[in-house]
Symmetry: C2
Subunit: 201 residues, 2 copies
């Protein structure tokens, strides 16, 4: 869901430098994690003057925050498969793939958010934006008659996705390919039983 892909945006020299620098941050983070991430290595990898990187991003927290801002500046939309279970399973598969990738830039960014207040705020905003974009999954299910009109979309989406983050980011259990589908199905069964009905169960 948080999918920091390399930026491909039109623009002049400033935009090009930003792209080079943020691509370098992702590459360094993927290879060395937060501990190996330095302004010097990013500047060298990007082929940009160190002074420019310091002036524009300040420190490593500033670089990470800008990576997360850039990651949210895309046209990502949640999967549209025609059913609630299909949409949630496909969404969970995206999250799962991003978290178990080796190296996982997404996992590295989450870990980095525990190291930098600036990155933490940017990560939080990216998640808020992603969950907001996902609410259409619930409204489509309501339109199809799969869910009652007064369904708390955010609670349903959190229930569907939380087990993946909890297991893979916090508990560090080994990747289990059943996880995305299981978590999606659990949320749908709970939803069908009225777990996310607004105004009582």
């Amino acid at each position: 869901m948080p999918s920091p892909a390399p930026l491909r945006r039109p623009g002049g020299r400033t935009a090009r430098i930003r792209q080079q620098v943020l691509d370098a941050v992702l590459a360094e983070l993927g290879e060395h994690g937060f501990d190996g991430l330095t302004m010097e290595a990013v500047a060298a990898r990007a082929g940009v003057h160190r002074a420019t990187v310091y002036r524009r991003w300040g420190d490593v927290g500033g670089l990470l925050a800008d990576v997360l801002v850039a990651a949210g500046d895309d046209d990502w939309r949640p999967p549209d498969t025609g059913s609630l279970i299909g949409d949630l399973a496909a969404l969970n598969q995206e999250i799962y793939d991003a978290l178990v990738a080796e190296p996982s830039v997404v996992a590295a960014l989450i870990a980095a958010s525990f190291r930098s207040a600036q990155a933490e705020l940017a990560q939080r905003r990216l998640w808020e934006d992603r969950y907001e974009r996902c609410e259409v999954v619930v409204s489509r299910a309501v339109e199809r008659g799969e869910l009652p009109p007064h369904t708390d979309a955010r609670r349903l989406l959190i229930a569907a996705t939380a087990p993946l983050y909890h297991r893979l980011v916090l508990l560090h259990t080994p990747p289990d390919p059943d996880l995305p589908g299981d978590a999606a199905r659990t949320a749908v069964l709970a939803a069908s039983a009225g777990a996310f009905a607004v105004g009582g169960t």
Copy 2:
């Protein structure tokens, strides 16, 4: 659930020093977080020679790992309220209270596990132990006839607790007192619908 309380164990000088040092780690962590945690401050607060702290725990990661080992060395048992929903809601309330406490030592230890490989391993072992102890909540529900005999206890427990960790530790949404009960009820509704049945839904 991970509840690192001050150690109260009988023992000689070695045990007493360990208790003083780990209490000091918890106090420093609660006050200053990982960034303010130093071997020097812990030694000073504990009233123990710095050399002793370095020799026995090596570094801050070693201190945190030992705090987590000590936290698991207790007789904690999950709540036994007489119903599955009651047990899960009470368990979630314990987790919620620990995570929203100010300062939250539990949240600080989780954050620290992203900084130290040693602390990460110890945190993972503590969680594994806590979830294992919680499985009795599910077996009691099976005995009462609330759940089918072949229920995946771990998946049910993760579903019930994951939304708390996801919201409070990763998403950093504001504390919501409905969260423990809502997440417990969602898991019970999903369980009643067969979401955690082993061998298919």
